[in-house]
Symmetry: C2
Subunit: 310 residues, 2 copies
């Protein structure tokens, strides 16, 4: 049987090293370890890669530390609009939701879109109607209210978001969570979830719910989950590009990830990172930002989590 | 200067040959010719490929014959929800809208998302708010009301859409319009627009507004606009896959399009087609369905339009 592997990220929009305290760092590392443990428990008991990425992402969605689920940032109107997607490498089935409000775990709703409908992507109120019909858990505004996120929003409310995104607080632009896994059966899967951009307007959708841009999985090549400046990941079709470089150009997993993040994405002007793995047990955690909340665990080895460095 | 080229499609969901009358066929061919003429006038006067694909798609959006803009099909609640996207091969800038109601020309709104925001994709009410702010033209429900579309909806209203999609009326599932162009400056562009699926629910979004799946353009490789069973085009990341096969595997434009539509898409179980061209003046109009409303015109040559055959 295949040796299992799980990798996760909590976004390439980390706090600047200069703003990170030992207490905050410990909290982030603990949350990453908890997500790894949750997903790895699934894999260790023979569960599927699909189940493992869902569970790992749910764990991060349930933490207030990451910009996804409970920790989602505020939109321009003070709401929380979330996006998520999931893809199964075995059959390339996929599901995604965009711009949903009040859903406790968007990644689980994405999985249900995949399993209970003929569709891949449901958006907005329609996706919420679907969630209600199937009894998917909702939470109140209070659940999603976080004082830090609220203050971040108050700082930029009514102003030109875009400028401030770059200048003051990269975290709110690059906040995302994701997971990729390899199970005992040799199947791989990927999932991504986000709370979007602080003060975002106009129903903006980034790469997180888009198959091929934010998430991709195909047993023959790799499973990928991205985090970064969403618009550039959309234009670069980043997640699928890693797969295409492996399949069509024969690059290694690490080679393909480096080529995409350190070269092609930079040429477009985009910043961020991705996590990827393949069924041979190779994995890559690549980013062109100061840091990326990340971790991985291989069957029989100790879990590893980190924030900065390369 | 480069010899200009323009190709268009009005969807791979054509009427079955057995249901096509000479009068209907003449009307479709006339509408395709009108769209080619509109786009080609832009190219002939030195306009950009980006402008040409927008104008050609607008022409088809304004016709009741195609499932886009005015001719959009009815959703399960009797509304019209439209999607569109556009991409400029010169700089890979892109814009898209998903699930917008009342917009006269979604492709033009997609272009304005590209040019007037830092975003690529806006969805639902947020996209409509943006349209209002910039003064984009809206139309009333009456404008979008078409008796044939209404009857199609009445046939399936309140029933299991999905089954009927396959059995009775492929047109409503595969209806889309799109254009790709090469201008005198040697730049290429692509655009796609759709009215979605008859009786669609839950805010379903297909491939048409997704960069990499329904639309893609990059000067170094190709411009592509797709039409077909959207979920399979999303999972296959079809439009970008054509580009990747050219760039990473060295396939010709025609070779890449054939590989994607006649082999890889079929392996996934998808049906439909695409139009593509490159800056060398090569073009391909490929589909695995009975027909695809389509046309192309090369500078100095006569326009060609057709529906069936290969």
């Amino acid at each position: 049987m295949t040796k299992t592997l799980l990798a996760i990220h909590g976004g390439a929009g980390t706090l600047l090293k200069s703003e990170m305290s030992p207490e905050k760092e410990a909290a982030y590392l603990a949350a990453l370890n908890a997500a790894l443990l949750a997903g790895n428990t699934v894999l260790a008991s023979g569960g599927s890669a699909l189940e493992a990425v869902e569970i790992a992402v749910r764990s991060m969605e349930d933490s207030p530390l990451f910009n996804a689920g409970k920790g989602s940032v505020f939109t321009a109107t003070g709401e929380h609009e979330m996006d998520a997607s999931i893809m199964n490498g075995k059959d390339r089935m996929a599901g995604a939701v965009a711009g949903v409000r009040g859903i406790k775990n968007p990644v689980s709703l994405a999985r249900k879109v995949m399993e209970k409908t003929e569709h891949v992507l449901l958006a907005g109120k329609g996706a919420e109607d679907f969630a209600k019909e199937i009894g998917e858990p909702f939470e109140s505004e209070a659940y999603f209210h976080d004082e830090l996120r609220y203050k971040q929003w108050q700082m930029v409310k009514g102003t030109d978001t875009v400028k401030l995104d770059h200048d003051l607080n990269p975290e709110k632009k690059l906040g995302t969570v994701g997971a990729v896994a390899l199970d005992k059966q040799g199947n791989i899967a990927a999932a991504t979830s986000t709370g979007g951009m602080t003060n975002k307007r106009y129903g903006r959708v980034g790469d997180s719910p888009i198959i091929g841009s934010g998430t991709y999985a195909r047993n023959e090549t790799c499973a990928v989950s991205c985090t970064g400046s969403g618009e550039f990941f959309l234009r670069g079709v980043v997640a699928y590009e890693v797969s295409a470089l492996i399949e069509f150009k024969g690059l290694s997993l690490q080679g393909a990830c480096d080529e995409v993040i350190q070269k092609r994405l930079l040429e477009l002007g985009g910043d961020g990172g991705l996590i990827a793995l393949d069924r041979n047990g190779d994995h890559a955690l690549v980013f062109n930002t100061e840091g990326m909340y990340r971790g991985f665990i291989k069957e029989g080895e100790k879990a590893s989590v980190s924030i900065y460095g390369s």
